[in-house]
């Protein structure tokens, strides 16, 4: 019994380490894999707790499929000065994503290459708090 309880306690600590970064990212997306998705921006919703970009992606046979790209919360990206306003509806972009674990048209945003070549990214919370600790402006 004592051994069982000890095992439970250890697994909780390990689980906490694995999941504390953000519940939806690690639980819902495979962060060990990444690939590009190219499409036309249909919708941009920068919001809390999760932002979302909808892409119209045209396949080789001409069919168009919607892709849903999950991104970080609006407030965090405002603080980190992420220029998300550069995303424009109607623009063709390429987004590098971590795939969702269950849905084949959902991914988590890593970077987006815009039509002018600009690479949009979010440095993340760790970079932000390090910049704050060192009294520096964050630049991604």
């Amino acid at each position: 019994m004592i051994r069982t309880l000890a095992a439970v306690s250890v697994s909780l600590v390990l689980g906490a380490t694995a999941l504390v970064a953000h519940h939806s990212v690690s639980v819902n997306f495979d962060t060990t894999k990444a690939f590009d998705v190219t499409g036309v921006v249909k919708e941009v919703k920068i919001r809390n707790p999760h932002s979302q970009i909808v892409l119209d992606v045209t396949s080789a046979d001409g069919t168009v499929k919607e892709w849903f790209i999950e991104w970080n919360d609006r407030n965090a990206m405002v603080r980190r000065k992420v220029p998300f306003e550069r995303l424009k509806v109607g623009e063709k972009i390429t987004v590098n994503v971590n795939p969702n674990r269950t849905e084949n048209n959902v991914g988590f945003f890593r970077t987006a290459t815009l039509s002018d070549g600009f690479v949009l990214r979010d440095c993340g919370f760790t970079a932000f708090r390090e910049a704050v600790a060192n009294d520096k402006d964050i630049t991604c």
């Binding site: 439970v8 504390v20 953000h22 999760h50 168009v64 407030n75 704050v132």
Partner: protein, 228 residues
Amino acid sequence: MLTRTMLVPIVLAMSVSVAAAQGKRADLDGVWILANSATIEGVKLTPAGEAARAKYDHVKDDPDMRCIPTTITRVMHTPSPPLEIRQRPDHIEINYEFMDVHRRVPLKPGLAAKDAPYAVEKWPHLGRSVAHYEGETLVIETVDAGAGVFDTLGMPGLYQSTQMRTVERWTADGNRMRVVITHTDPVYYQQPFTVTFTHQKLPDGEILPWDCVPAEAGYDRFKKPAVK
């Protein structure tokens, strides 16, 4: 009618009472962000706690996916959104950006937590709280929290009963703040356990509206493919 002679001891007694509630206030006021991941120690589940955790389904059971703050500990686990603390003469004001949780904790000597008002008017399930000082440590006791999911982020799938009692100890040292929360709930836990948060000050920080919308927060946002 009260005479001056009678008023003096009354005023003195009131002053002592307020001083006891206020203590020697720590330099906690300001806006803070997490400096690193929380430390969780001493979690040992009862059989009821193990059974509840085994049934937990993060897709269906996570209150945050419906824009409901699960518990204060869960709110504090969220990495990015800051919190703001202001020590008022008769209460502590804590504003958590995550889920727009605005908490008011009375500083009132003699007031038991069970008799205190709900600390977050909009969310009674976050319990009744009362605060006092021990030296430069702010201490907040909370009882009468709602039964249900306890945490979905640091320790996903843990539950709490209505017997959950938490004691938060807030201390500051310059630009660092430490919050140690001791949780006691004999229904789901064999012993008290602690969660420790370390924060760093966010200069010129402000709390922004969270404005969570349930339809946009839940897993329904992952729509099925729409082929044209």
